[in-house]
């Protein structure tokens, strides 16, 4: 059963169309991430699910109820805001009780619920404090607590971790995942951080310019991105895009592109892909981790192509080393383990994992 169904949803502010027909659904208990660059419409979409923005056209169902014109409080949802939106003049406990008071929940039940949620989130020590006296991480917990006391059909998160510093963000991400596994509620989670989306969500909707570019599980999104935008947005460093041509000169089809030294690289295509290519011009997409140093172990493998490229910049990060190389005019980033890392100025022999490479149609930007 679906907890949330969205059909052809549109939203305009005056002449500006910010959502251009969105379709989405979340199965009960599922964790959906809406991800995209700022301005893509993901927060507007969330606000419309919450009932904080009007619907221009289309339908939103929570459970099997059409909620287009249902007031936010009657939608059986809870929301955690990016700014946390804790009521500054109330204590943590009063913050958590406010919603229940508004709905007329009996006092005793309020106390019980707050005690249960506070224990779950380990925020009992701060119940009597005001939000201003809490650290960022503590505030974040309280904001989650305020949502959890509601026990709603649908949880909505609007970039809840983006105001935390980097380390805390990673910790809270893990906690969030544990919490979801424990509570098991349907969740819609807005973020601009693709790592958060990948780690937390069972399915990800990548949004751009008011449209869902792809809605799929993290593995598909990462390995079979629907178009160049999704491919470029998900993954860091981003996928490398190389303008190339298909050539069948050597018998088997291969992608070719010019090299810095005037030569031409020719990387044989993986069988499955070769059949789908119809046009001569393609854009080849290679993720940085699919480049590695050529050695006897990988050079002969099926689906692995070899070439070499001059190294311009080397950036060690400890666990791995990034290197910027020249493929013709183009700068291409590779990600290597430290022991196989290139040196500055080296003309590095590369092994390219063509089974993982993506080809895009330059006209439509879609995956071939």
């Amino acid at each position: 059963m679906a907890s949330l169904t969205i059909r052809n949803l549109r939203k305009s502010f005056g002449a500006v169309e910010v959502l251009k027909g969105v379709d989405l659904e979340a199965r009960t208990g599922e964790f959906i991430a809406l991800v995209g660059p700022s301005g893509c419409g993901k927060s507007t979409l969330l606000a419309m699910i919450a009932g904080l923005e009007t619907v221009t056209s289309g339908e939103i169902y929570i459970g099997d109820r059409l909620v287009n014109s249902v007031a936010p409080k009657d939608r059986d949802i809870a929301m955690v805001f990016q700014s946390y939106a804790l009521y500054p003049t109330m204590t943590v406990k009063e913050n958590m009780a406010f919603g229940m008071e508004s709905r007329g929940v009996p006092k005793a039940e309020q106390e019980q619920t707050i005690a249960r949620v506070a224990a779950l989130l380990q925020i009992e020590p701060f119940l009597k404090r005001k939000p201003g006296q809490l650290s960022g991480g503590q505030r974040q917990r309280v904001a989650m607590g305020r949502a959890l006391v509601r026990d709603p059909a649908l949880f909505l998160f609007d970039e809840p971790l983006s105001n935390l510093d980097a380390k805390l963000r990673v910790d809270m991400r893990t906690e969030m995942k544990k919490l979801h596994q424990r509570v098991g509620k349907t969740t819609v989670y807005v973020t601009h951080d693709q790592v958060e989306a990948m780690t937390l969500a069972s399915r990800i909707a990548v949004m751009h310019q008011g449209e869902v570019q792809q809605f799929a599980d993290p593995d598909t999104i990462y390995n079979r991105p629907a178009n160049i935008f999704v491919a470029g947005f998900m993954g860091s460093p981003s996928m490398n895009f190389i303008n190339a041509e298909i050539s069948t000169a050597g018998g088997a089809p291969a992608v070719t592109f010019p090299l810095a030294d005037g030569g031409v690289a020719s990387l044989p295509l993986h069988d499955g892909v070769a059949q789908r290519v119809t046009d001569k011009k393609v854009i080849l997409g290679i993720r940085p981790e699919h480049l590695s140093r050529q050695d006897p172990g990988n050079a002969g493998k099926p689906g692995v192509a070899t070439m070499s490229a001059p190294v311009e910049v080397v950036e060690p990060t400890g666990a791995e080393t990034m290197a910027v190389m020249k493929f013709g005019e183009l700068e291409v980033v590779g990600r290597f383990s430290p022991d196989e890392a290139p040196r500055m100025g080296e003309n590095m022999p590369l092994a390219v994992d063509m089974t993982r490479a993506c080809l895009f149609d330059p006209a439509t930007t879609r995956l071939i």
Partner: protein, 302 residues
């Protein structure tokens, strides 16, 4: 700033001593100027305070600007309850209470309305709400002279001519622009997310106002109340035009008193009367100075 630049040259002893001498001189000049201005600002206040305790013969012998050589409280009760203004010899008390009866309700009502308007115009926007706000802003700049005839006519029609209630109405509507402007600009700074969170929590328009907005608003409410209180207390034009005789507020009474040019000037009693008239806003200023200044600067720059 000054210190930072003047200190930065102290490498050699000689240079340091020159610098510190220069610094001393600049300090003397600064404090000298400050004191000079302070004197200019204090003298008028001292003149009124001193003269309210001096005897009339002493004032005419030694002038208005002099240290008191006698001390006497008689002028105060006289100013309060005996002094004659416009044929009525009841002192200034009646006008003082008129002003109190006018300023208290007008301040409370206009502030309350401004808070609600500001809340709607910042957190419950509707199509056209910005136009409404723009129109209210125009009211800030309207000169009182434009409104004199209409007010006289309307108050006459609804039976509030020459009454304190009429002035309350006038000041409520006059003040609406300012109170709305103050509150709206403050509320705009309150994150919208708070209101959204409260709406998801099931709170409605009024509950959000009482439970979320008002508890964060004391600073702006104090600013607004002080602004309205001092403004209405000190207002003269409407008081003198719309009301007459015993129904006028204290500013009109003070003018009547000082323009009473026929008789010998009783500076002692007039000083006391002026002080009584100036005391409420002065007290507000000395106790709520921070908020008073904030109101002034905010009211001006918008």
């Amino acid at each position: 700033m000054a210190e930072a630049t003047l200190n930065s040259s102290g490498v050699v002893d000689h240079e340091a001593s020159v610098a510190s001498r220069r610094r001393l001189i600049s300090r003397i000049v600064i404090y000298g100027l400050l004191s000079g201005f302070a004197l200019i600002y204090l003298i008028p206040l001292c003149v009124v305070v001193f003269n309210s305790f001096r005897t009339l013969p002493e004032i005419s012998a030694h002038g208005l600007i002099a240290f008191p050589q006698s001390f006497r409280l008689d002028a105060w009760p006289q100013a309060w309850s005996d002094f004659c203004i416009g044929g009525q010899c009841e002192g200034i008390q009646r006008y003082f209470w008129n002003s109190v009866a006018m300023v208290v309700p007008a301040t409370i009502i206009s502030t309350a309305l401004g808070a609600i308007n500001g809340y709607v115009l910042s957190k419950w926007k509707f199509p056209g709400s910005d136009i409404v706000f723009g129109m209210m802003l125009l009211g800030v700049f309207m000169p009182g002279q434009i409104a004199l005839l209409p007010w006289a006519f309307i108050l006459g029609k609804i039976g509030l001519a020459n009454s304190v209630y009429g002035l309350i109405l006038v000041h409520c509507i006059q003040g609406l622009s300012f109170t709305t402007l103050f509150c709206r600009n403050y509320f705009v700074g309150i994150p919208d997310d708070l209101v959204k969170a409260a709406r998801i929590d099931g709170a409605g328009f009024w509950r959000i106002f009482y439970k979320i907005i008002l508890p964060i608003s004391p600073p702006i409410l104090i600013v607004t109340v002080i602004w309205q209180f001092t403004g209405i207390w000190n207002e003269y034009l409407f008081g003198v035009v719309l009301n007459s005789g015993a129904n006028q507020p204290i500013t009109s009474a003070l003018v009547a008193l000082s323009l009473n040019g026929t008789t010998v000037r009783t500076y002692d009693v007039m000083s006391a009367a002026v002080l009584i008239g100036a005391l409420p806003p002065l007290l507000v200023y000395f106790f709520g100075g921070k908020y008073f200044v904030r109101g002034l600067t905010q009211g001006a720059i918008k």
